[in-house]
């Protein structure tokens, strides 16, 4: 779905840009029902994936309360005064007020997206196709916060200090918060 004027300039034989097609509610549902997996960059379409329980890689995730949606998560990082907010702060951040508070959002790099994508495909390939995909992600990642999110391994290695059992989960370089 998208607007005719906003097509992207990328060409590849097995890639089709459908973003310039306009608004097609029926096709949006149909594609979600038929696809193998979904890579979702911070948009509401992730809930469409959840309807059909399709495996989802959620990149640029800015809000980590994902209402029961399981998948592999690659979040954007929240920074204040050159250090990352702790995850517990992110989970309770007032999204409307944050613009005034000086918090900035740092998106994942191309490499982080690529690494997360590789892990995502590896997880899917290791399981039978009829396996309930969304359940497998709850067991993945060495770390998960209380709401069951599984972060991409490469991202965890770089940005997370702490263990699954930690009460407070600290992101890298953030002693003050």
């Amino acid at each position: 779905m998208g607007l005719p004027s906003t097509s992207i300039f990328f060409k590849r034989e097995d890639f089709y840009d459908f973003s310039g097609s306009g608004y097609c509610p029926q096709l949006d549902v149909y594609l979600a029902s038929k696809c193998l997996l979904i890579v979702n960059g911070a948009c509401g379409y992730k809930t469409m994936a959840d309807i059909f329980k399709k495996p989802t890689l959620m990149t640029h995730a800015y809000r980590l309360r994902l209402s029961g949606l399981r998948g592999l998560v690659l979040p954007s990082r929240y920074r204040l005064s050159d250090s990352d907010l702790v995850l517990n702060k992110v989970l309770t951040l007032d999204m409307k007020a944050h613009l005034q508070s000086g918090v900035t959002l740092l998106h994942p790099s191309d490499q982080e997206i690529l690494d997360a994508g590789k892990q995502f495909v590896k997880i899917i390939n290791e399981f039978q196709e009829d396996y309930p995909y969304q359940n497998i992600f709850s067991n993945f990642g060495r770390f998960a916060v209380a709401n069951g999110i599984s972060f991409a391994d490469s991202w965890q290695d770089k940005h997370i200090r702490g263990s699954r059992d930690s009460v407070v989960i600290r992101l890298e370089g953030n002693e003050a918060l």
Partner: protein, 208 residues
């Protein structure tokens, strides 16, 4: 006094639920796909989970959608399992609009989770996650059909084989919100929040 009011409201809600065997769920005014989906899906999944496990008697679910339905095709699929009342506040004018707003306010004020009138909820509470992730999907993929004569389908099927396996990439774009979402009801659709939007170029290594 407040406690007594709450208790009365709660009891009345449960009594009405028992007598009418109906639950009225009020959906978000924001008309966003993510919230519409999250509320409807969560309510129906929990409902079917309770039915499957004999935790609840069968009741009729009625969703009240205050503004635009974000995806009509999805609403039609969900309509097999629940009734939708679309009050179209955004299209109403004058006394009708005022009356509808008052009624909606009253319903929102008396709503109790799980009662006769219930607020829409995406069930972010971790205690609901077990149900939401393990119960059966409300809509099965084979229930979904598409009008193969539509222009969009024709164009798409010229470029990809929809019978083969394919992956979808969806990402947040400002233009979509500007065109299709009512910013007055939904501040996070405004350009102030476009800092969340990914740059397509970041996905190119993954696609390649």
């Amino acid at each position: 006094m407040r406690f007594v009011t709450l208790l009365f409201n709660f009891s009345l809600n449960l009594l009405l639920l028992k007598l009418s065997k109906t639950r009225i769920v009020i959906l978000s005014r924001k008309s966003r796909l993510s919230q519409f989906n999250a509320y409807v899906k969560s309510e129906l999944r929990e409902h079917f989970y309770n039915l499957d496990h004999n935790l609840q008697r069968d009741i009729k679910i009625v969703f009240i959608n205050p503004n635009e339905i974000p995806n009509q095709a999805l609403k039609e699929l969900y309509s097999k399992h629940a009734k939708f009342i679309c009050i179209n506040l955004h299209k109403s004018r004058g006394f009708r609009k005022l009356a509808l707003r008052v009624i909606l306010r009253i319903l929102e004020a008396i709503a109790v989770q799980g009662g006769f009138v219930s607020p829409g909820s995406s069930r972010t509470d971790p205690k609901n996650w077990y149900i939401l992730t393990r119960c059966r999907p409300v809509i099965k993929p084979d229930e979904v059909s598409v009008r193969v004569t539509s222009k969009e389908y024709q164009v798409l099927s010229e470029h990809i084989n929809l019978d083969e396996k394919f992956c979808l990439l969806a990402y947040r774009k400002s233009e979509y919100y500007q065109q299709y979402v009512d910013v007055s009801q939904n501040r996070q659709a405004a350009s102030d929040f476009s800092y969340r939007n990914p740059n397509f170029a970041a996905f190119v290594p993954l696609i390649e």
